[in-house]
Amino acid sequence: MTSLVYLVPLALLLGGAALAAFLWTLRSGQYDDLRGAAERVLLDDEFDRPLRGPLDE
């Protein structure tokens, strides 16, 4: 029981961090072109910035 006192909040904290990360990726338009992102890894360095919508700039 005592271990739960810190394990459960820790688990929730990690989950919350994942949620925040997801919301951030969503906001910065990283799901707009999943196939393109995979291909851009292989291109020259100037192409590898994540796709950002015009509203974010």
């Binding site: 029981m1 459960v8 994942a18 997801f22 906001r27 072109d33 393109g36 192409f47 015009p54």
Partner: protein
């Protein structure tokens, strides 16, 4: 790179590159003087294409940035300045064929991001609560269980408030209008389950339904988000039509002065001056001058018509090359374009009456859920007198019957079907269009640009090599569609013509080495009657060229495939009877009507639907826009006019007409899967409902039943394949030399 760059001919043949004006109108403002054009480039398909296109745009004057989206096969070009960059020329040079894409459907959708955020929060809470619940189910001691219930309650509250408000808002607006929808039982069930669980947690009870209420929200939000993505966006076809029109016209007063008056101050009887390149604002009659007029808005024909004194002009048509003076016979509100706008408004209103399958199912289902839950509550209250028990069983009934599976049944299938259609080069504007397409039993085709390629091609040449070069070089001086086709028959010979003169409606003439060459209509060029286009040297014909509007690839096969599926076909065209009959014979359609104005097409469609037919309209021209909105369901090629694309439910990106039977087959299969999913959901209820009514549902059973039925429905939806009648999707590559590409 050979896999990526399609033959240039394909682009040259079908791509009707829009004018700079059209490009500017299609761009959207980003602020700071920046504008963005969105293009759909169906032949993008790998990383090399990204590099080729983005590098190709670097250094083009005015282009700030070009960005390819590989998933959606789109290209966004950001530019600065007054005149748009020559995007189509650049893409042509790179070997890609492109079409303008409506900017509004690309704009960020705030409702979608709201749904996604709600979905993320509900997902996070549901997962964590489920994690805690598993330990409770596997026999945690009373103290731990109590602690976990409290944590669950703390997690469920934000899910309910943040993610649940989407359902609360919808349920509330339905109730306020005296209606009920599926969101009412969902809201009641979720809220009551939470309240009762909280009450039990305070009272140290063994069961809590926090997991059920949050995972219900989660599953339902998945369905809701998919549904939103499939929902039709507001159509901008009507705005497109009015945006195309000029804001005013130059009026010639009796005293010879000229005034530029806004559109609503033009009155019948006023004399207007028309410059080349100007769109005609109001209906009228030509007083002086002659010109070629692009009447595509009325007839759908790309070939210009010659007008001179006494000819009538329709508003919306485009003066291509002459100075005209006209007398207005109507004001802007009584003119042809205003009539078209009115027709489209009426048609859009008619289509809004279609009720989507999911809505119809919810309408039937929701009273059943309410009644069952209420009866269960009353029954248990009467039988045991224990209100706590009666309420908890009634809530279990609400949660079990709340249709996770039903909520996913339609949108999941439609999302998969839209994906399959996209892979086959067909874009869906509206999920309900897939339901409507599966119902059709008649197809109506436009001719020019739909069954045919929409631009003339040279099919036969009689004459020697040298005269071919002269004809091609001379044709390069004109923008007439026939001249552009003729220009392709020669290599780039550099001949120095003098006194080049284009005669509207007849042809083009010039002198070369002391000889007068005329290229154009036989009767004008050589004085002999004949249907051919002729090159004459000093009045003597030296070369004759047969020009014809070729059929789209697979037009005949597509019509046959539809006929095999029991769908009849009609051609409704604005072209001349001779051209329509010829095209009808070549594609094998016996029922063809020629010479129709947009209102005539609408009347024909109305007659067909009055006789009980569900009609698919396939068209591309400006003149088809009202008919596209009025038909039960509609399709347009991506080469269609902007307004036509906007009005259609489906847009196919490749040239082949096999897209039509393929889309029909996919929608038919999607319809079958939706019905199967409904059957699955109902079967699930038939098993789960008695168990719930009898009071045997524990939180564990509720969670299992709910997840299982949802997974089943999703798995069933994924079985949908892009089954196509002719197997693989054909690449849009056609590298046949133009003069050899004679249609069978």
């Amino acid at each position: 790179m050979s896999c990526c760059a399609p033959a240039i001919e394909a682009a040259a043949e079908l791509g009707r590159s829009p004018s700079p004006d059209e490009l500017r109108i299609a761009s959207r403002e980003l602020g700071n003087g920046l504008r963005q054009i969105d293009l759909s480039v169906p032949s993008i398909h790998c990383g090399a294409c990204i590099a080729a296109i983005e590098r190709g745009f670097r250094g083009v004057a005015g282009v700030e940035r070009a960005r390819v989206n590989l998933s959606t096969k789109r290209l966004a070009v950001t530019w600065r300045g007054e005149t748009p960059p020559p995007v189509f020329a650049v893409l042509d040079r790179l070997g890609y064929q492109a079409n303008l894409f409506e900017p509004e459907s690309d704009a960020r959708d705030p409702e979608l991001s709201r749904l996604l955020r709600a979905l993320a929060v509900a997902g996070f809470c549901a997962m964590n609560i489920m994690l805690l619940s598993v330990s409770v189910w596997s026999g945690a001691d009373a103290e731990t269980r109590q602690a976990f219930h409290w944590i669950s309650a703390a997690l469920a509250l934000p899910a309910l408030v943040y993610s649940g408000r989407i359902f609360y808002a919808s349920a509330w607006s339905a109730l306020r209008h005296g209606r009920t929808n599926m969101d009412v039982p969902i809201s009641i069930g979720v809220t009551l389950a939470f309240a009762l669980s909280l009450y039990d947690t305070i009272g140290n009870g063994p069961h809590a339904y926090f997991d059920a209420s949050t995972s219900l929200l989660f599953f339902l939000l998945i369905g809701r988000t998919l549904d939103h993505m499939m929902r039709g966006k507001a159509r901008a076809a009507v705005e497109g039509l009015s945006r195309m029109m000029p804001r005013g016209a130059t009026v010639l007063r009796d005293d010879g002065s000229r005034d530029y008056l806004p559109a609503d101050e033009i009155r019948p009887g006023m004399r207007l001056v028309l410059m080349p390149g100007e769109r005609i604002l109001v209906d009228g009659v030509v007083e002086s001058g002659s010109a070629d007029i692009d009447c595509a808005i009325a007839t759908g024909e790309s070939a210009p018509q010659a007008v001179d004194i006494g000819s009538t002009l329709r508003s919306g048509t485009l003066n291509l090359n002459g100075f005209l003076m006209m007398t207005a016979t109507a004001d802007a509100r009584g003119s042809f374009v205003a009539e078209m706008i009115a027709m489209m408004d009426a048609a859009e209103g008619g289509r809004a009456r279609y009720r989507r399958l999911a809505d119809r199912a919810a309408r039937l289902y929701s009273p059943v859920v309410h009644a069952t839950a209420l009866l269960t509550f009353l029954g248990w209250l009467a039988a045991t007198g224990d209100w706590h028990r009666a309420i908890s069983i009634a809530i279990a009934v609400l949660i079990i019957t709340c249709p996770c599976a039903l909520g996913l049944a339609v949108p999941m299938v439609q999302a998969v079907a839209a994906r399959r259609l996209f892979e086959a080069g067909i874009m869906v504007k509206d999920g309900s269009a897939m339901e409507r397409l599966a119902e059709i039993d008649w197809a109506v085709f436009d001719k020019t640009g739909t069954l045919t390629v929409g631009r003339p091609r040279v099919v036969e040449i009689v004459g020697d090599e040298k005269t071919r070069e002269i004809a091609a070089a001379l044709a390069r001086h004109s923008n007439h569609p026939v001249a552009r086709a003729v220009a392709a028959i020669g290599k780039d010979a550099d001949l120095s013509f003098r006194n080049v003169r284009e005669v509207a409606g007849l042809g083009i003439e010039a002198t070369l080495d002391g000889h007068l060459y005329r290229l154009g209509r036989s009767s004008w060029a050589s004085g002999e009657q004949g249907p051919q286009t002729v090159l004459a040297c000093d009045g003597r014909p030296v070369l004759s060229i047969a020009v014809e509007d070729g059929l789209r690839p697979d037009a005949r096969e597509a019509v046959e495939a539809l006929r095999d599926a029991g769908i009849g076909a009609t051609i409704l065209s604005g072209d001349s009877p001779a051209a329509v009959t010829a095209a009808a014979r070549r594609v094998g359609i016996s029922d063809a009507v020629a010479g129709l104005l947009p209102s005539g097409k609408i009347d024909r469609l109305a007659a067909l639907s009055a006789s009980g037919r569900k009609v698919l309209m396939v068209g591309d021209g400006l003149n088809d826009a009202p008919a596209l909105s009025a038909a039960h369901v509609s399709m347009a090629p991506a080469s269609a006019a902007d307004i036509g694309r906007n009005a259609a439910d489906f847009v196919f990106l490749h040239d082949t007409l096999m897209a039509i039977p393929r889309a029909y087959a996919v929608c038919k299969e999607a319809g079958r899967l939706v019905r199967q999913n409904f059957a699955l959901a109902i079967a699930y209820n038939a098993i789960a409902l008695p168990v719930a009514i009898l009071g045997h549902v524990t939180p564990l059973i509720a969670a299992l039943a709910m997840s299982l039925s949802s997974v089943l429905v999703v798995a069933n939806a994924l079985r949908l394949r892009g089954a196509s009648p002719s197997g693989k999707v054909r690449r849009p590559v056609r590298s046949v030399a133009p003069e050899l590409a004679v249609e069978a």
